[in-house]
Amino acid sequence: MALRTEEMLLNVGPQHPSTHGVFRLVVKVDGETIKEAIPVVGYLHRGTEKLAEDLTYTQIIPYTDRLDYLSSMLNNYALVQAVETLMGIQVPERAEFLRVIAMELNRIASHLVWWGTAILDLGATSPFIYAFRDREMIVNLLNELSGARLTFNYMRVGGVKWDAPKGWINKVSEFLPHMRKSLKEYHKLVTGNEIFLGRVKNIGVYDGETAKNYSLSGPTLRGSNVKYDIRKNQPYSIYERFDFDIPTGEDGDVYDRYMVRMKEMEQSIRILEQAVEQFPDQGEIMAKVPKIIKAPEGEVYTRMETSKGELGVHLVSKGKDKPYRLHLRRPSFINLQILPELLLGRSMADIPAILGAIDIVLGEVDA
């Protein structure tokens, strides 16, 4: 007699330890094999785009902090870049340097959180604490700069809000060798571990073509051997002054995405070293901008590379002090679309590995 079996519908989330927030995944499992996975998003939807229509440009900046709250500096930049492009503002050099330093520090901090939590999802508890130990140093640096630890609200249209405090640049350059050393320690602790490799190699594989068709960006794209980084391909701010590489993966599996992010941290350290070296001693931190910022009538789409991928801002202005329409292309949301395909036929235990490698922040997925 054949045993009667049936598929089980399992709700993973919205409250689940490895969905990193209020993400819900409805999976149909046969034993432990996933037959179908439907992501359900929107639990953290706050209507940022609609809210922005009733806010002045300066007032929108704190809202961008809360998109991808792990990399607020980068989100700040995405918005001010769009407004500055539309208004044609020339940002002073010192401000640009401060922005780049803040952004790259924030990129490392964001990748550190990813590193800690992605490995935690595989069951190893210690890396998480090490990652947060080093992130704490970055958070302290950014706290000195902006007065906040998470939602920095640091950049303004035309420059930055605060100048670097005395000796801050030195603190940054002291931090960099420490971070290099820590990265080596991370590799020793995790990268060569046989169990870790067994969990991430040949899992969640997709090729570059698929990645492009899904419009993936950031490490999820570069892991599949596509050399594409907006900082290089369409340089913004002062990134063309710095010498850095774009790390890519070969096979497009979870391990490659892991390695891409690890190497990106090294590249960020390289950028920071150069930026600290070239940092101008004097100079303005704000361009001459009118008291009430009114973007001229027009439409602009600007984009940048955040820690998650391409963050684009589509801004439509009717010449008022508030945007007529603001659309955000959020990389976390778009990168998440490939998840159902990757989970098909995998086991339950692969959910945290694959989801972790996509690196989503729910604030950005739901906006």
Binding site: P17, L122, G123, A124, T125, S126, I195, A349, I351
Partner: protein, 332 residues
């Protein structure tokens, strides 16, 4: 220590047995309390934290406070569980864990039951716990719990095989299943970790898997299954499952000390003035520390990798070990 077990039944004997059992329970509970404290401290230090340090001096009363908290919690039985099974599952899981402690000899004189089939008794009883875990997962009427329960059955059944087979090498060398005689054989010759090194390694890995601890903690993998088989349990029933886990650490580390590290035997002859119980506990603590160390270091394996490892690597190795030991014994 006691010959009561072989004497005819009388009410006084029964009373003595109950008192001794209560004393053992007390010792085990104190061990569990401080094993948890020790684990949290060790892992805390490994993770650049301090570990518990608020309740009592150096946080020594932390676990006491935790247990007290669990005991005064409301006993929640969810509406749609299979009530009878849900209530007895923690007891079924815990009882054998406690019962196997009886056969462990701690030193020349301190032991509770001198059973001639001690090893067999250990192996047989410890596999009953799995029934409790499966029942707990099944009766909870929760999808995560049933998955955790199924995982633990698959895991424990698979790892029981290499675990018991790694006993065999030692049994072949001593010709006895009595744990005291196994230690005495090591006192006369060398510790079995040397001639039975392969067996020791297999035991170490399979024992870790039997204990459901990292990297083999799949039944309670919180990242996939939230908490696995005890997801619906709370209060003192949850405490019972935790207690089972730590009592097994106690039992497994004791057994490993007895079988491979010479039990209460001193490593060098000039150190024999130190009482055997001290040596026993030093070796025992080393093994417990090893378990905590591994937990702080490794990620978790996946179910298929876990099963593949048991059937393709550990069992052939264990068989090879038995065969080599037998060959060695016959030839020399």
């Amino acid at each position: 220590m006691f010959n009561i077990l072989s004497e005819p039944f009388s009410w006084i004997n029964l009373l003595v047995i109950i008192l001794v059992a209560a004393a053992v329970l007390g010792i085990v509970l104190v061990f569990v309390m401080y094993a948890i404290y020790f684990e949290r401290k060790v892992i805390g230090w490994m993770q650049v934290r301090n570990g518990p340090n608020r309740v009592g001096p150096w946080g020594l009363m932390q676990t006491m406070a935790d247990v007290f908290k669990l005991l005064i919690k409301e006993d929640i039985v969810p509406a749609k569980v299979d009530k009878f099974l849900f209530l007895i599952a923690p007891i079924i899981a815990y009882t054998p864990a406690f019962a196997i402690i009886a056969v462990i000899p701690y030193s020349q004189k301190i032991y509770f039951a001198d059973v001639n089939v001690g090893l067999l008794y250990y192996g047989a009883l410890s596999s009953i716990t799995i029934t409790g875990i499966l029942l707990g997962g099944w009766a909870s009427n929760n999808k995560y719990a049933i998955m955790g329960g199924m995982r633990s059955v698959a895991q424990m059944v698979s790892y029981e095989v290499p675990l018991i087979m790694s006993f065999l090498g030692v049994v072949l060398l001593t010709g006895s299943l009595n744990l005291r005689e196994i230690v005495q054989a090591q006192q006369e010759g060398m510790w079995f970790i040397v001639p039975q090194f392969l067996g020791f390694v297999i035991f170490l890995i399979a024992g870790n898997a039997e204990l459901n601890r990292t990297p083999f903690d799949l039944p309670e993998a919180e990242n996939e299954l939230v908490a696995g088989y005890f997801v619906e349990y709370s209060g003192f029933r949850f405490a019972f499952f935790m207690l089972t886990e730590y009592v097994y650490i106690f039992a497994m580390a004791s057994l490993m000390t007895v079988m491979f590290l010479g039990g209460w035997d001193a490593p060098f002859e000039f150190l024999e003035f130190i009482p055997g119980i001290v040596w026993f506990f030093l070796k025992f603590l080393l093994l417990v520390f090893y378990l905590f160390w591994v937990r702080a270091t490794f990620p978790r394996v996946r179910t298929d990798q876990l099963m593949g490892f048991a059937w393709k690597v550990l069992i052939p190795l264990a068989l090879l070990n038995v065969m080599l030991t037998a060959l060695f014994k016959t030839l020399f």
